[in-house]
């Protein structure tokens, strides 16, 4: 399921989600949430909007806002169906009304992957992005694919391991994407991980045994080094352990904001 909040981010997000679905052989549906909070805000007597283009402060009424939101929904619907027109399956475009977080949460339990974007203005509007995402992770077995602002064609697939037992689902997902994209595979083992050296060796042996071409395991001294390492290896996708972040919203928000690349929060399913 792909959830886009505005046409500005919708086209890129839908395209990314479509590619993802094609690779996985999955059906893709789209979701748009008419944020009830917005309509509520528009009902307030002092409701005004600061125009993002002209910087003028304009009056706001609920009917106008509702019309604008519906127009956004129509645009996104058209974009979605245009994007998936060549796909073998027929996706659905659903429009829900209510609280964005709650509506998303209501959908993820039936999905394998939720695709969204951190630069999506609707998500940005969320007070607690990290918490929301954690909530989504906790809601079920759904993996999160968060489309980043930076993409590097042919860039490497980087996975991060910072715990034992080794989260093999993270390694496998990273290898999967490495092979599908014919991109180098890099595994960053955090130095703080217990038995980091053994972890490095184990994963290295795994790569050799699996005859994975252009695979590398690197020991990352600290979390702050990860950003540099992502740059050095021209990372295009960062694969993280979903379970690792279920209860660490600030850390998750930090990773999303500073990595800039797409992030896959992988679950065992």
């Amino acid at each position: 399921m792909v959830a886009a909040g505005s046409p500005a981010s919708g086209q890129r997000l839908y395209a990314a989600a479509s590619r993802l679905a094609e690779i996985c052989g999955a059906q893709l549906d789209a979701l748009f949430v008419e944020d009830s909070a917005l309509l509520q805000m528009a009902s307030l007597p002092f409701a005004r909007v600061v125009n993002a283009d002209s910087a003028r402060i304009e009056s706001l009424d609920i009917e106008t806002l509702a019309r604008q939101i519906r127009a956004e929904a129509d645009q996104l619907r058209a974009l979605f169906f245009q994007t998936v027109s060549n796909q073998p399956w027929s996706g659905q475009f659903s429009v829900l009304h209510g609280n964005v977080c709650q509506q998303l949460l209501s959908q993820v339990s039936r999905r394998d992957v939720l695709v969204c974007a951190t630069n999506d203005s609707r998500l940005q509007s969320l007070s607690h992005l990290g918490q929301t995402l954690c909530g989504l992770l906790n809601a079920g077995r759904c993996s999160l694919w968060i489309e980043g602002g930076v993409s590097r064609a042919g860039g490497s697939i980087v996975s991060v391991v910072d715990r034992t037992p080794i989260p093999w689902h993270v390694i496998q997902q990273a290898v999967f994407w490495s092979q599908r994209r014919r991109a180098p595979f890099v595994c960053l083992v955090m130095a703080a991980c217990p038995g980091a050296a053994d972890v490095v060796q184990t994963i290295t042996d795994f790569i050799a045994a699996a005859e994975i071409q252009s695979g590398e395991v690197v020991l990352a001294p600290s979390a702050s080094d990860v950003i540099d390492l992502l740059e050095r290896y021209s990372a295009d996708l960062l694969v993280l352990d979903a379970y690792r972040f279920r209860n660490a919203p600030e850390q998750l928000q930090h990773w999303l904001m500073y990595s800039m690349v797409s992030v896959l929060l992988a679950t065992e399913s």
């Binding site: 009902s43 409701a47 005004r48 600061v50 125009n51 910087a55 604008q68 956004e72 007070s127 590097r152």
Partner: protein
Amino acid sequence: MKKTSPLTAEQLYHSCDLSVLDFVTTDSLPEFEGLFGQDRALEALRFGVGIKKRGFNIFVLGPPGIGKHTLVQSLLDTESDRRGPPNDWCYVNNFQAAHQPSVLQLPAGEGDGLARAMTEFVEALRHDIPAAFASDEYRSQLQKIEQTLKDEQDKAIEAIREKAKTKGIALMRTPNGFAFAPITDGDVLTPEQFEQLPDEEKQRIEREVDTLQDELRQLIQRVPAWRAEARAQTRALEKATAQAAVAYAMSKLKTQFQHLPAIVAFLEAVENDVLENIDEFRESDDSERGRIPMLAHVPDGPFARYQVNLLVDNAATKGAPVIYEDHPTYLNLVGRVEHVALMGALITDFRLIKPGALHRANGGYLILDAFKVLQHPYAWEGLKRALQSAEIRIQSLEQMLSLASTVSLEPERIPLDVKVVLLGDRMLYYLLYQLDPDFAELFKVAADFEDTVERSGQSVKAYAHLIATLARRHELKPLTATAVQRVIEHASRIIEDQERLSTHMRSITDVLCEADYWAGEAGRNAIDREDIEATLAAKLRRSDRVRERTIDAIRRGIVLVDTQGAKAGVVNGLSVVAVGDLDFGMPSRITATVRLGDGEVVDIEREVDLGGPFHSKGVHILTGYIGHYFAKERPLSLAARVVFEQSYAEIDGDSASAAELFALLSAIADVALTQSLAVTGSVSQKGDIQAIGAVNEKIEGFFDVCKTRGLTGEQGVIIPASNVCHLMLRQDIIEAARQGRFHIYPISHVNEGITLLSGLDAGEANEAGEFPEGTFNHKVSTILRRMEEHRHEHISPGKGIEDESNTAERQDREGDDHDGSDEDSDGH
């Protein structure tokens, strides 16, 4: 006066001495080096080619077919080997003014290198630049810029969001912008909840919202500045990326052409233009255009302006160029700017500049046919302008004549250093010299080709070598010595001179080629004399239809020409008829009538506009003769008419003036002249018989008529003595002369001819101007005196001679009876 003796058979033909030709066939003769009999022209050519000053171009004058072009080409080819090849010339785009393409000069062979290098450079850039902009490094830099901008905006908005959060207010994103809403426990207050708040709290919220909105507005107003800065950073990034992409390829180019500062300057201009127009390289996609055939020649896209138009490529030129332009139109000489029609419009650019002959010959030599240059409108003007200014300016005729006001190209002018050699006939040279003041300034060297060369033992040997060379050059069979002998004799016949040989090599070559054919037909390996004879005979036969018909008409009496007997006032004159490539002689009856008159000799041909000026001059001259000899102290009182009987075409030349005089004198004296003899010759007022042209054809023409009827032994032709050296008659005539069946009489004075034609002594005048009695001239004089006396009897002073036209008038005046004259009654 003693009767003139006829010429001997030996005098009628100058045989070539076979002993001089000491070879079996021309295969053993070496190649003829140099030029035959053209020392004067060769010296002039060498001077003209050697002198390097402006204005010393060369005009080679002489009739066509004598080898002017061959010699000039050979000389220039030799001369050009001593010089190095000239520079290559290229046109390139002028980035400052595209309608004025710039010209580049490079050493020979490097122009192609530059053109290829630029093509490769552009191709490389078309891949390198997009690749540079697709590179991870660029993208990450660009994304950093974009991300920084975004982060800056986000951070600022986040700061406001956090600030709002501390005040219990949420910042929300709407479709058009941002809005603030009070929250409680993370949820936006409903209007009802808001109404339930204390007034103070409501006011606080509204104040805070106002403040936050204001802050946000100010923030958004700063966004354009941030974006502008981001754009500037982006442009700087693009420029740096482009520079890096261009630098390597450009440095290679600059290194390759570092020895040519002008080229380096051009490359720098290219580099600047590329950097200023990077987007064109990033957006380039000529694949579609490449698939459309109709656009194959259209200036294709933005990269066209970096190409090089190699106008003149001297890579393969060994020495100085020697160019012959066989179609010297104005545009073919000075070059042109071509256009391509595209969707109803004509478009062009520097790549469609095409060179002319002057460009290709620049630094060398240009050979042109003068008549062809003058034939084509403005070609001569264009050539002169280029030579006078010493530069080539490519300009359409419309531009030159100020007929066009549309925008077109004005290519930079190219310095011109060329030696022009014009080939033309003498008349053209003299006309140009007389009528065009520029001509003398620009063509100071005249190379005058000889039509003929002296025939001597040495020259005959050289001629044999020349024939051998021609045979080899045209891949013909070798010639035997007797064949060469006959060709040499023919070379004398061509120019009608026993003592000279023709230098008209084209005619000789044509004979050799045809003789080669006949030799082949006969199964011979070498061309023999009989093949030459067969050639000449076949050539005559092919063109002989009109001549045969004419002789036949004479034979059948349709055209009246007597070849025996005698008549007064009638002489066989001789004229030449030109039909295609054959000139043949033909006798014509010339008659003269006389009666009483005012001394007027009327040339009937002139009266009816069939007589040309030279013919009229001849008639006037013979009138002068008569006056000088017979009417010096008394008025000439005759009216005479002279005509070519049965002639209905234009006649010119004075070669029949002697015959006309004889006819006139015969008519005056009423003395019959033999019709067995024909007469040709020009007469002076003093009675001298002067040389004429085509003497051989004229003699042969009368001989053929006489032969048709059967030679009597009395027949012959009277020719000017000064024409004897021009005789190269046919063998049948020579044989007839040898046998005494046909005679050629050379005369120097009218009186000799009178004796031959009349059988009477002509008679010389004494001091009193009287001729001996019984002589021809005495008879003439007597008749003329009688006419004068009759004239006095029939006219009154001031009233002129009475003739039919004014007799009635006179009789009216005198009151005579009209019935006395039937001629008067009809009113003429």
